[in-house]
């Protein structure tokens, strides 16, 4: 990431664009939540949009797109455990003792 005043100004333009996209996506989420596309489809779509929004925030606002490797590793570990924590407990309730 450049540090000169010019670079920063360029960044600011990116930020504003990302901001507009985020506003747009918020509108889309709300909009499609009123359209019934089947329960599962609605959930999947809403989560996909949320993930896109979150990625935008992380990548541009939080500068993750040009971050150092060390930070990637840290987040990668957290993400792995996060996934484990997310699904293993549910796994148990889906795999009970079968009579």
């Amino acid at each position: 990431m450049g540090d000169s005043v010019e670079d920063i100004k360029k960044h600011v333009r990116t930020y504003v664009m990302v901001f507009v996209v985020l506003l747009f996506l918020t509108g889309v989420t709300v909009g499609i939540s009123y359209v019934d596309m089947g329960h599962t489809m609605n959930i999947v779509l809403a989560l996909v949009i949320a993930t896109i929004k979150a990625s935008l925030v992380a990548a541009y606002f939080m500068h993750l797109i040009s971050e150092k490797k060390l930070i990637y590793y840290t987040l990668l570990i957290a993400a792995l455990f996060f996934i484990g924590l997310m699904f293993l407990p549910t796994g148990q309730s889906l795999d009970p003792i079968h009579l």
Partner: protein, 196 residues
């Protein structure tokens, strides 16, 4: 005694201490909210009937709050950009706006809670209400924490600019990272609680 790499990045890692620190903290926050989301999934999968959020909660209010938080994300990054370009007064203005947006978010939240209580909807009502209040409550506490920090950097904390402008700019960047994360959590909370 001086702690190295508080302002200049360490050559081999390319990072300053506080930046690594905040990312580690955010990693732990990922696990905190991850645990709560995991609880949400488990409770929902095992539930007999789970209400659709929009039938109980107000989507327009939450959508408004989403916009407020996203806007505050852009203002905090503008604050950092302004400071980076050496403009303290503009930076402070953006910090103030961020703070006020945070305040707006909290006021709307308070209004929302209040309506729920008036309708007799307390956390004890159902597992859905319980997880709604716990998740949004914890998120609200994070917003509050961020607001306190912004208030500090807008007021007494800004004195640092005179002696160590670069350090001050870094601090705004760090708190900005935290603030974006709080925003990011809300981006997930909004559909998960209100829409699905």
């Amino acid at each position: 005694m001086l702690i190295p790499y508080t302002v200049k990045p360490r050559p081999d890692t390319g990072l300053i201490n506080s930046k690594l620190g905040i990312w580690l903290f955010l990693a732990s926050e990922v696990m905190l909210f991850g645990a709560l989301f995991s609880s949400y999934i488990l409770l929902r999968v095992n539930s007999v009937d789970w209400p659709v959020g929009s039938t109980i909660l107000s989507v327009p209010i939450a959508a408004f709050n989403t916009v407020v938080l996203i806007s505050s994300s852009i203002t905090v990054i503008m604050a950092w950009a302004s400071l980076k370009m050496g403009n303290l007064s503009k930076g402070r203005m953006y910090i103030l706006i961020t703070f006020l947006l945070g305040l707006t978010f909290m006021c709307v939240k308070a209004y929302e809670y209040n309506t729920k209580f008036h309708h007799g909807l307390f956390p004890s009502e159902s597992t859905f209400m319980a997880i709604y209040f716990t998740l949004t409550g914890l998120h609200g506490l994070h917003v509050l924490g961020g607001m306190i920090v912004f208030a500090y950097f807008w007021g007494p904390g800004a004195k640092m600019w005179k002696t160590e402008p670069e350090h001050f700019t870094n601090r705004i960047e760090i708190v900005g990272l935290y603030w974006h994360f709080v925003d990011l959590v809300w981006i997930f909370l909004f559909p998960v609680l209100y829409l699905l």
